[in-house]
């Protein structure tokens, strides 16, 4: 491989068609990048619509009401949730950054199954198109969780949406499978498991979850389909079935899925913190193993979504206890990041700002999670805006901050150009402030008892809702700045050097952007990933 043409992967094969048939993991990552960005835009517009509707209580059809009626609100809510979960956050970091950097970080030429990798993108797009297609068939209003028995009886395109989720699940499985084999088998000589970068560790743990949890979602969705078509009665109380069992099956997948969303984000943060502190990461082994720890515990805690579902008290207590255990590996990560920052030479670049933002927001999201794990408290908070605020702090404050930080961090490597630091930081300021303005009031609203998922609310909640809606506009502006930064960087950014940040991991030891073969000389690894002096 030593005599590579030196052409970057972007220009190696010309023509648009070559992108849709390319087996190169970097190009497939770009395919995901473009599609996920598009879905994010759609889901984001839905979110703005929801907040706009909640700007004021509905006095009449003309005053305080933006959407036509409650049905439309429920539909927008469903699409916002389904799009953001299945099409943005779950594939986001693994399929874009993971695809691009996992092979690079372990010194491989590609993922283990390049053809399967491309196939996963097509499968994902098929599922996503079907899901979006329901919007034009007949809109669904079940929420992204498809709880029975409501989902058995409402609307006509639930089956189509369920098929879509099933297909996207398959794509997720294939990606995870690919990554596991890549990590097990394709590491460069000398790249032992405990020399792998922490981002790779996180993607690896995520992949394990994707493979082990998603099949159960598959069978759950298939059964829901059968329920709608034949009325098989397994989840339908009419035939002696058990709707709570649906929730068990659903959350057996969907709780690990929450960690499918957050684990890669944590991996990104580990990279950012150590790079921009110019300091060897503190507690490498602990962080690496805590990823596996979180993945393992995630299979035992799903019942905390069901404390008020009618599940038995014993099950509730068990799930409550085990849920609190999640705090341990998570805290291990937090404290290790803090210890890494300590006495580091911190550079406040845009990625670092996102990393610090992540730590701040994720701490709030995580700690409120522990609050919600207490059954007695959950009975009060369940299905209120407290829960909405909690998971947005984790998913948006956590994952989305990490996605943005990761994009900026790896932007020079992916595209060979530098982004504009000033607009990137401006984007962060708006997103960070806007996020807190949007979601912190929702904790208070929830504590005061405002129920989630409703089209309208009583006037007492008006003030805080107004604040929250204004915050959503700030987030919107922030992402517009982000989009501008990315487009500007792509079109007229200065050429990026191979290693602009002085990082130590392998992906920075090759050109920016890398050639089709990733490395001109097959790397031989002799040390850990973060040996800063």
């Amino acid at each position: 491989m030593g005599h590579s043409s030196g052409k970057s992967y972007i220009y190696e094969e010309p023509g648009l068609k070559s992108w849709f048939t390319s087996l190169d993991h970097k190009r497939i990552a770009i395919l995901y990048f473009v599609s996920v960005m598009f879905f994010f835009l759609v889901g984001g517009i839905m979110a703005l619509l929801l907040r706009l509707e909640l700007f004021a209580p509905n006095v009449s059809a003309n005053v305080g009401q933006v959407l036509k009626n409650g049905d439309v609100y429920n539909q927008v809510l469903t699409y916002h949730g389904a799009i953001m979960v299945f099409m943005v956050i779950i594939p986001g970091i693994p399929a874009i950054l993971g695809n691009f950097f996992l092979p690079l970080q372990i010194g491989a030429k590609d993922v283990a199954f390049p053809r399967l990798n491309l196939a996963s993108w097509y499968v994902f797009m098929l599922g996503a198109s079907l899901a979006i297609g329901t919007f034009f068939a007949s809109k669904i209003d079940t929420g992204w969780t498809f709880y029975t028995p409501y989902s058995i009886r409402t609307g006509s395109s639930v089956v189509m949406m369920v098929v879509a989720a099933f297909i996207m699940g398959m794509s997720s499985i294939l990606t995870g499978l690919n990554f596991i084999v890549t990590v097990h088998r394709l590491r460069a000589p000398g790249m032992t498991m405990f020399r792998m970068p922490l981002f790779t560790w996180a993607i690896y743990s995520t992949a394990v979850l994707q493979v082990l949890a998603t099949p159960v979602l598959g069978i759950t969705l298939l059964l829901l389909m059968m329920e709608r078509i034949f009325g098989v009665g397994i989840f339908d109380p009419k035939l002696g079935g058990d709707p709570v069992l649906f929730q068990h099956f659903f959350w057996f997948y969907s709780h690990p899925a929450v960690y499918i969303m957050i684990l890669p984000a944590m991996g990104v943060i580990s990279e950012l913190i150590t790079t921009y502190s110019k300091k060897t990461i503190f507690g490498y082994t602990a962080i690496a193993l805590s990823s596996i720890g979180i993945a393992a515990v995630s299979f035992f805690v799903w019942g905390h979504h069901m404390f008020v579902s009618g599940q038995s008290e014993l099950a509730g207590v068990l799930f409550s206890f085990i849920t609190m255990l999640v705090g341990v590996p998570t805290a291990i990560k937090m404290f290790n990041w803090l210890a890494t920052l300590y006495k580091g030479s911190i550079e406040f670049t845009a990625p670092m700002l996102y990393a610090l933002g992540f730590m701040f927001l994720f701490a709030i999201g995580g700690v409120t999670g522990i609050i919600l794990a207490v059954t007695a408290v959950d009975v009060h908070f369940h299905d209120t805006y407290f829960v909405v605020a909690h998971f947005h702090y984790v998913m948006v404050g956590g994952t989305l901050m990490a996605i943005m930080g990761g994009f900026y961090h790896w932007f020079p490597k992916m595209f060979g150009k530098m982004y504009n630091e000033m607009t990137a930081q401006l984007s962060w300021v708006f997103i960070f402030i806007g996020f807190n303005v949007t979601f912190f009031p929702q904790f208070i609203l929830g504590a005061k008892g405002m129920p989630r998922r409703y089209f309208d609310y009583v006037p007492e909640y008006e003030m805080l809702n107004k604040v929250s809606t204004v915050g959503s506009w700030l987030i919107g502006i922030g992402f517009l700045f982000g989009l501008y930064t990315i487009i500007r960087g792509l079109t007229s950014g200065p050429k990026a050097p191979a290693n602009p940040w002085g990082s130590k991991t392998l992906e920075w030891q090759t050109e920016s952007p890398p050639t089709m073969h990733n490395f001109d000389h097959d790397p031989i690894v002799t040390a850990g990933p973060y040996e800063y002096k």
Partner: protein, 115 residues
């Protein structure tokens, strides 16, 4: 996970030929599976005599059959240990799903309607 350390194993075996099971072994395993299937049926026909044990016998035999298929037909006996661990993980997490679902269902306090 647990299969990390096996990587070096696969490196060492880089030039080892995959194990070839002799034809006789396949014949024996196939015959054993047939015999066990007949055994299942015999047990079923006479199940009136030990009704409460019937499911355990039926599934016990099924488990033995499953083991034979996995070990020899699926070649797990001669496969890398990591693949055995991977396959076992599937069953383990299935057990987790089963255990917690069943814990809930059988410890619910029956309640009258509150309507």
């Amino acid at each position: 996970m647990a299969n990390n350390h096996n990587h070096s194993h696969s490196d060492h075996g880089a030039h080892a030929e995959p194990h070839v099971t002799p034809l006789r072994t396949y014949l024996n395993v196939g015959a054993a599976l047939f015999v066990l299937t007949f055994l299942t049926i015999i047990a079923h026909v006479f199940k009136a005599h030990y009704l409460s044990l019937a499911p355990f016998i039926a599934f016990g035999i099924a488990a033995v059959k499953a083991f034979l298929v996995m070990a020899w037909f699926m070649h797990l006996k001669y496969d890398e240990p990591s693949n055995r661990v991977i396959f076992a993980l599937g069953f383990f997490f299935l057990a987790v799903l089963f255990a917690f679902s069943i814990i809930d269902i059988f410890t619910r306090v029956p309640q009258g309607t509150v309507l």
